[in-house]
């Protein structure tokens, strides 16, 4: 576990060394919310939830896209001799999840300031966001590790990841509707079970496949 934290710390240090990286993400969040808000003018509760996740989706793609491109290839050979691929993968997932949670919280703040507060069940929304961040982080990290091996890295991540994200996203949207109070559904536990089982399925598959995909 300590070794994984080491890798996470390295990741964070590299990210923070380039100051524009985090600031760029924040700017992305701000400007896309601004565009959406200037188109809609006002966001009723239902549209608030949809807008939130559309912006979040593209921000998360942006954030995780470059996760394997940041370091040189020779450095990965070096890592390969030092760490088990799973350690590297878990470190990347943890770091990306933290990044997504950062995006989630800042986007929530931005939309809260711009379009008002529509969340009825704040705890539920926070839990939904955390689950989404972990699930999407695992999925996007795996896809990014596949896409880095191809020639068109950026577009390939989007092509491969977007359709695979939909099962996760549908459940997140339902849980969001519950936390916004826009659905008559009073029992969200079905969705929670489905979402956690999809996430654990994805995580299991990713842990099994990553060592195999990573060696080249």
């Amino acid at each position: 576990m300590g070794r994984i934290w080491n890798l996470v710390a390295i990741e964070a240090r590299i990210e923070l060394r380039e100051r524009f990286a985090l600031a760029g993400l924040l700017l992305y969040v701000l400007s896309s919310s601004f565009i959406v808000f200037s188109i809609w003018r006002q966001l009723p509760a239902k549209e608030w939830g949809l807008t939130f996740w559309v912006i979040f989706l593209f921000c998360s793609l942006m954030a995780v896209l470059k996760t394997f491109g940041r370091e040189s290839e020779t450095r990965y050979y070096y890592y390969y001799t030092l760490y088990h691929p799973l350690e590297l993968f878990l470190a990347k997932v943890l770091y990306n999840a933290a990044l997504l949670i950062f995006i989630f919280l800042s986007l929530w703040f931005v939309l809260f300031v711009m379009a008002g507060d529509h969340i009825v069940r704040g705890g539920w929304f926070l839990a939904t966001g955390f689950m989404a961040c972990i699930g999407l982080s695992v999925l996007l990290t795996l896809i990014a590790s596949i896409a880095i091996k191809t020639q068109q890295n950026a577009s390939m991540t989007a092509i491969l990841a977007l359709p695979l994200m939909i099962p996760v996203l549908i459940n997140i949207l339902r849980l969001t509707a519950y936390s916004l109070g826009t659905t008559p559904d009073e029992n969200p536990w079905n969705e929670v079970t489905l979402l956690t089982s999809i996430i654990s399925l994805v995580t299991g598959m990713a842990l099994w496949l990553f060592p195999y995909l990573w060696r080249s």
Partner: protein, 367 residues
């Protein structure tokens, strides 16, 4: 087919196989089964049914003249024995006072609808039931809506219990059921549904070959897996197209953003992405490894996408969101005689085509 035959001819001049190998038994089976499915699926007629009734609404306590339009019916044969009932619920029925037969497809039934009903309601939907010695019985649910009368004579409520539906005739011969919205499109069951069954089977075989590539690392397994994905995609697309045509006739739109339609389109997108991924990698081993990994990942995610999520949402599609799945009157024993062979036949055909595709790929590689 043409490609494989021409390749076989080319091969013969160079390699000279000892003897052309005969077609395997299961391939003959698929040909024969599909010929049977096409003939039986298109030729067997539907049972008689009722298409429409005019007028659609009336007021209780007066006589109503119902014009009945039949489908595949033969009213003019033995027209004296044609009987009609309007059913409120269970045994609560009224029989027609008289029936005039115009021709085989059109008849006029005259009913007196009592001004009092056994229970109070804003409007009463009545089901029309016809019985005929040769056509058998046919039913049209919610044929006519009755609004309550202004003056209610409560003694008339007993009229509802006077008549009984009895001595119903059975229609002889092999025929597919007539369903009111489906009508002739019920035959699509033998084409639309097996397409999806075949797609799942082909993609499953493909994922299995990916697993074999993961274990053993033989490039031939990668080629087989790709061939099965390609043909699985074709079957999925055909399933989508047949489904859209069916939806146009039953749901009145090719695409109504139904959850089942969306999820299956996304499933196809996932596999189309796999093909894009393959085309963007040059190195053979790299391509094989990455696509094997993605393929297994995609197949596992396909299960919640196609089988769990649509079941949890409202949907027009049978088998989802509280709708009954195939069965009951939608799939009776006559239809099962065609449907089950159709599933087997289409799956075998899919495997056959995939086999041809990867054989051609292997020949091209060895050239």
């Amino acid at each position: 087919m043409v490609v494989s035959i021409s390749l076989a001819i080319v091969m013969q001049t160079t390699v000279r196989p000892a003897k052309a190998s005969p077609l395997a038994l299961w391939k003959w089976a698929s040909i024969i089964i599909l010929i049977y499915v096409f003939i039986a699926g298109w030729v067997v007629p539907l049972k008689p049914g009722i298409i429409a009734v005019t007028p659609e609404r009336t007021i209780a306590g007066k006589q109503v003249i119902l014009k009945v339009k039949g489908y595949n019916t033969f009213f003019s044969r033995d027209s004296d024995n044609l009987r009609a009932w309007l059913r409120l619920r269970g045994d609560t029925v009224i029989q027609s006072q008289r029936i005039e037969v115009k021709d085989d497809r059109n008849a006029v039934a005259v009913f007196y609808i009592p001004s009092a009903f056994p229970f109070a309601q804003d409007a009463y939907p009545l089901t029309l039931i016809l019985d005929h010695p040769t056509d058998g019985s046919s039913v049209l649910p919610n044929a006519i809506f009755v609004t309550p009368a202004v003056v209610i004579d409560s003694s008339e409520a007993s009229l509802w219990y006077k008549d009984k539906i009895d001595k119903i005739h059975d229609q002889a011969g092999i025929r597919f059921p007539f369903r009111n919205i489906l009508a002739e499109t019920i035959r699509n069951t033998y084409f639309h549904v097996p397409m999806w069954f075949s797609m799942i089977v082909l993609l499953g075989i493909s994922a299995w070959y990916s697993l074999r590539y993961y274990r053993k690392g033989l490039i031939i397994d990668d080629q087989k897996s790709t061939a099965f994905v390609k043909i699985g995609l074709v079957f999925g697309l055909l399933g989508l197209v047949t489904g859209m045509l069916w939806a146009k006739h039953t749901w009145n739109a090719y695409w109504s953003w139904d959850v089942k339609q969306n999820m299956s389109a996304i499933a196809l997108l996932i596999y189309a992405a796999l093909m894009v991924l393959r085309s963007s990698i040059d190195d053979e081993m790299q391509k094989a490894r990455l696509s094997a990994g993605y393929n297994m990942f995609a197949f596992i995610l396909l299960i919640p996408l196609l089988f769990i999520i649509p079941r949890m949402t409202d949907s027009l599609h049978p088998g989802n969101g509280g709708n009954p799945a195939m069965g009951g009157e939608d799939l009776d024993n006559t239809m099962r005689m065609v449907f089950y062979p159709a599933v087997i036949g289409w799956i075998l055909l899919g495997i056959w085509i995939s086999q041809l595709v990867y054989r051609v790929d292997i020949l091209k590689r060895n050239q």
